[in-house]
Amino acid sequence: MKFQNPRQVYGETLLELGRENKNIVVLEADLGKSTMTVLFEQQFPERFFEMGIGEANMTSFAAGLSLTGKIAFTNSFAVFAAGRSFDQIRQAICIPGLNVKIVGSSAGLSDFGDGATHQSVEDVAIMCAIPNMTVLVPADGIETRKMVRKMVEYDGPVYLRINRHDLPDVTSEAEEFVIGKPGLIREGRDFVVFASGIMVSRALAAAEELAKENISVRVVNVSSLKPVDEESIKKLAEGVKGIVTAEEHSIIGGVASMISFVLRGSGIPLIPVGIDDRFGQSAHNYNELLEEYDLTSDAVVNAVKKLNGKK
């Protein structure tokens, strides 16, 4: 299985786009070596703005740049991008629907060492709550590249959530990324797992494990949290005995909330795998944290089995 680092892919794609489109400008809040905007900075210093450690000002400044026709990408860790700049995103960008792209890097628990202050468990919920906002969570490097390109084509505010670590390729290079469309990753009959981000690969591993026990599990990559094609979600949930949602985010306001809302009234039982209304904490490595918060393929296996036990 090939692994790619989403933030490396993001930085490289931004650089490619910078060559193709001179309207692209990039803003950074002193984390360019982590978010990988450093690649753009080296090539296009005149279109790169170091904004210092001031996310609020960076975000409103980006709104101003977009008002002069620029496609502005702001960059910080997800927790700050969505948290410290919430009001700026809401007021100056989303109310008028400005063409600003907010990129939240080192999202979820992926900045494992830095602890609760730097780990975003609620960024997707915050961003989804804002009218006019589009919220994207890539499952791998392949999808990251496609999404960043799509963000430039799309005229309007977008929030992109990027993991800090290498992720296995799970999506297909050939398939076009369409905003709003969930992607079928693995066909299955009995259950469906709607997953996002790193949990897509973990859901796939779970499906393989369950196949050994003759439990057939469909895996769907919900990489557009908003907007979402509700008809596709309903279709992908057709005929299953149960649903599992899986996300590296609070179960409030992310995939679990969205899927339960879309499938309300369907009567299909649902078990959410996600962060259970808790903050993150420091750990010596990422996996240790993912285990502590039950963000594992085993957690998905257990959820499916639990649903399978129900009649």
Binding site: S60, F61, A63, L67, Q88, Q91, I95, P96
Partner: protein, 274 residues
């Protein structure tokens, strides 16, 4: 043809009258902080700025951002007077579905350049606009107005650092020093002084003027244009509620209501100037 100072004085009185009409009777409206800006806004829209009411998105235009967005009424009055939309629109201000919202909305109102109202953000937006125009090598200028109460917002000082770090000399800021915040005098409630020293320390060129003296506003803008490699701020000493005797220097008219008698008295006083 540029207007004369005498003509601009009349425009300022007309704008104040329109503000009073928009506030109306028995409805809350941001009277004080709109009236304190009448001369500055008159000079910008009717003397200084390159703009075209018939073509609001003209690429070469100067930009105006009202960071203290609650003073929207002065901008609406100026836009209507300039011909961005029919003057009759001002009667519909804040009505459900109206073009003129409680705070400036670029999606509904021609001539509004950005959405402001959550205080402290407009200066950052103006900086971004100034930077964007510079990338495109445009000669357009960006004008921005902040309030002396508003600058308690920390983001103002983030933007102040940005403007001087990036040497945004196409940015011209007015600080409406009307000395009153919503709940009382700035010096008693939350003192944002000393203004001149603070802005100087942040790397700005600072002017200190009478914000109701039209000639002084014009002359200062001219002097400011000669200063390169620095952002410029004009601290404009103003009177909140200026032009309406009973409302001058009264914090209650920050966002207050007018009685029928007050409304008529204000109209009569302003009509005298015209």
């Amino acid at each position: 043809m540029k207007m004369t100072v005498t003509e601009l004085k009349k425009i300022a009185a007309t704008l104040r009258l329109d503000i009073v009409k928009m506030v109306g009777v028995g409805q809350k409206g941001h009277l004080g902080g709109s009236c304190s800006l009448s001369e500055i806004v008159s000079v910008l829209y009717f003397y200084k700025m390159k703009h075209d009411p018939k073509n609001p998105k003209w690429q070469e235009r100067d930009r105006f951002i009202l960071s203290k967005g609650h003073a929207a009424l002065i901008q609406y009055a100026a836009l209507a007077e300039a011909g961005y939309f029919p003057k009759a629109e001002i009667e519909n201000v804040k009505k459900l579905g109206a073009m003129l919202q409680g705070h400036p909305d670029m999606t509904t109102t021609p001539g509004i350049e950005g959405n402001t109202g959550s205080l402290g953000q407009g200066l950052s937006m103006a900086c971004g606009m100034a930077a964007g125009l510079r990338i495109d090598k445009k000669s357009s200028k960006v004008y921005c107005i902040v309030g002396d109460g508003e600058i308690a917002e920390g983001q103002i000082w983030e933007a102040a650092m940005t403007a001087s770090y990036y040497k945004l000399d196409n940015l011209y800021v007015f600080l409406d020093m009307n000395r009153l915040m919503a709940t009382g005098p700035v010096v008693e409630r939350y003192d944002t002084n000393p203004l001149i020293d603070k802005w100087k320390a942040f790397g700005w060129h600072v002017f200190d003027i009478d914000g109701h003296n039209i000639q002084e506003i014009i002359d200062t803008l001219e002097k400011a244009e000669a200063i390169k490699d620095k952002p410029k701020i004009i601290i404009a000493r103003t009177i909140k509620g200026k032009g309406i005797s009973f409302a001058e220097n009264v914090a209650a008219f920050h966002n207050g209501e007018l009685t029928k008698e007050q409304f008529e008295s204000a109209c009569a006083e302003l009509n005298k100037i015209n």
